[in-house]
């Protein structure tokens, strides 16, 4: 399959490219940029006049379940996402190599986004006994995580770090103290007090960041901190990075746009984990993203069945469907936070790929052809019908958002093309 994408504005932040140029794809790889290789004849031509041609997006947090893998990979493709990192809280939990093989095989059969699994750090995510990390790594796990579960026992966490450091594995840790967040539903502050919702204090995050930093210090383990939500947390990570600790961090796109005030009258679509925090926290997250303290932006895609959100706020399952909104929400962030478009795209492209240590996020000649072609000036109306994901739970339901994906190419295959 030979594909030519012509006349688009090519934005490849990793290679400092931002110019109108043609892209040629052959044998699943980028064959040439600019002028066609000799003897070129296309099987497919995409006219990208007025459109942006960018590396396929890299989303470091997409929760998938067995039953909905196909729909969620299709949703990712519709959102221009070609690489996803999947936390181990699948059903069943990814704590055995066979389960990882099976998940990757099923994902590969979809010819959509590349799926990079995180293995369970402890068996059944129980926080007590280490999973077989080496075997899981051989099966293709790019790191190890507890998803949203905690390791309450500090000695277990310490040993997990020592063991992972022995083999150079990266730990992906979600900093949340399980006791301070117990039974919590919303950020502990004025809004939770008004609504009478159990609060999750900012300290639930900062206490855990501090614990991770302190016990990782001697082990030199690589730690990636998932879904930072507090301004104070950003400060702590900034200091740790300055000190030279091998720490990276991401932030969910929701927390860059929304605050706890947006919960309004108990809208369960705004129940997220971590909870939406204060305006000051949101500003701190944006600042952290701009100065590189936060390495990248994730969707934290968490589709939920309707009935999981048709309950009172505090009983609603946390999370939002988001992988196919990621591009639009980052474009909107670029507007509101005054980010250059290439910088913004890098946060869900090259920067994310580098953080995860995966080969993705650029359009260099010779790399796998993962491409997203989109119209940055067009707007889309977010409705239930417009979402390909099985989950319809998003705080942005009803919004008009910028950015319409015209085509997504994953490893040289057309994974999504908008019907004309």
């Amino acid at each position: 399959m030979k594909i030519a994408i012509r006349n688009g504005r090519l934005i490849d932040p990793a290679n400092h490219v931002d110019q109108v140029a043609d892209v040629f794809i052959a044998a699943g790889k980028i064959a040439a940029i600019g002028s066609a290789p000799s003897d070129w004849h296309s099987n497919k031509e995409i006219n990208a006049q007025g459109l942006i041609v960018a590396p396929g997006l890299v989303d470091l947090s997409v929760h998938v379940k067995r039953g909905t893998l196909a729909t969620e990979l299709a949703a990712a493709a519709a959102g221009g996402v070609t690489s996803i990192v999947c936390p181990p809280d699948t059903d069943p939990v990814l704590d055995e190599p066979g389960l990882v093989d099976m998940l990757r095989m099923r994902a590969n059969a979809q010819h959509g986004a590349h799926l990079y699994p995180l293995g369970a750090l402890t068996k059944a995510l129980g926080g007590e006994q280490l999973a077989e990390l080496s075997k899981l790594a051989q099966a293709g796990c790019i790191g190890f995580s507890q998803a949203d579960a905690a390791i309450a026992d500090t000695q277990v966490l310490w040993r997990a770090m020592q063991y992972a450091a022995t083999f150079g594995f990266t730990l992906w840790l979600r900093p949340e103290d399980p006791y301070l967040s117990r039974e919590g539903a919303a950020h502990d502050g004025e809004v939770s007090s008004r609504l009478g919702l159990n609060g999750i204090p900012s300290s639930s995050e900062t206490v855990e960041i501090s614990r991770i930093i302190e016990i990782s210090r001697g082990t030199n383990v690589k730690c990636h901190l998932s879904k930072i939500s507090t301004a104070r947390g950003v400060e702590m990570i900034r200091a740790a990075k300055r000190e030279g600790l091998p720490i990276t961090a991401d932030v969910s796109i929701h927390h860059l746009h929304l605050t706890d005030i947006d919960i309004g009258h108990f809208n369960p679509n705004f129940r997220l984990s971590p909870p939406l925090r204060s305006l000051r926290d949101r500003d701190g997250l944006i600042a952290g993203l701009k100065d590189g303290t936060l390495d990248c932006v994730v969707s934290d895609h968490t589709p939920r069945p309707r009935e999981a959100k048709q309950v009172p706020f505090g009983e609603a399952a946390p999370g939002a469907t988001a992988v196919e909104l990621l591009l639009s929400l980052v474009l909107r962030l670029a507007e509101s936070a005054k980010l250059d478009l290439p910088d913004a795209l890098a946060m869900i492209g090259a920067r994310a790929a580098k953080t995860a240590g995966i080969a993705a996020g650029t359009l260099s000649v010779g790399v796998a052809a993962d491409v997203c072609v989109f119209d940055a000036g067009a707007y889309r109306h977010i409705t239930e019908a417009s979402l390909k994901s099985a989950g319809k739970n998003t705080p942005f339901m009803g919004y008009e958002l910028p950015g319409v994906v015209r085509a997504t190419i994953a490893a040289g295959h057309i994974a999504y093309e908008q019907a004309s």
Partner: protein, 320 residues
Amino acid sequence: MLSKKNIQLNENGELHHLLAIEGLPKRILERILDTAESFVGINEREMKVVPLLRGKSIFNVFFENSTRTRTTFEIAAKRLSADVVSLDVARSSTSKGESILDTIANLSAMHADMFVVRHSASGAPYLIAQNVAPHVHVVNAGDGRHEHPTQGLLDVFTIRKYKKQFNHLTVAIVGDILHSRVARSQIHALTTLGVPELRVIGPQTLLPAEIERLGVRVFTSMEEGLRGVDVVTMLRLQNERMNGALLPSASEYFSRYGLTPQKLALAKPDAIVLHPGPMNRGVEIDSAVADGAQSVILPQVTYGIAIRMAVMAILAGATR
């Protein structure tokens, strides 16, 4: 977005659901109080029933048990001649796995005109109000630790009965503010009605985060907080609060925050004492105060009927 609209009011600015005091304009609170005033007279006469809501079906749906509150709503509905059905859902269908919305849909199919809802989860009445037919009214009879608007209204009604005006009062609310829906409703009602100084008194473990943003002054010392107040509201302290690390014991709590005649003496001589009931004597309030001359706890119960009649009458009369 739907969730941000004040769904309590219809397009004409009339009360359509009573879900919370927060967000209600002063004119609506005053109208409820004024209407309740005329129901007080009806409750005192031999014939206590008026035909106002004849033919209307009111469903008391209590996902959380409360015989006392449910009974006051039943009496109020009956005195308005409504057909009233009370369901203790806590003991029946939801324990079999039926969702709140399924329960409400089933009852709606029986042509309910109004739901009076109590639920242990904050915000549950909003979920219901967003999912009922446009002509159906929802009254919040207490949701989690969010609000208990009719209790807040009967509290301010009682205060108005004894103190006439709000604009010169100092009011203190004492105890477990964190878990109290009564406290939240009373705070919003009193600030809306123009009380110039509203205090909350309790240990830090029982004070919600940033509570001062609701327009209250925070005191952790009972002695300082009670000084010169016109009204004291004592909140119920539930026994399960002693289980964790919120409080060491009931007797230690009482020694600090229990209302005794000695502590009450710090308030103005004509100060009145409210309690939403049921009381824990010897935990938050001394019997000498509960049964004393300054206690208005029983009048609160009496006025509770009139307030609930007023709310039901106004809602049922709201044009779509």
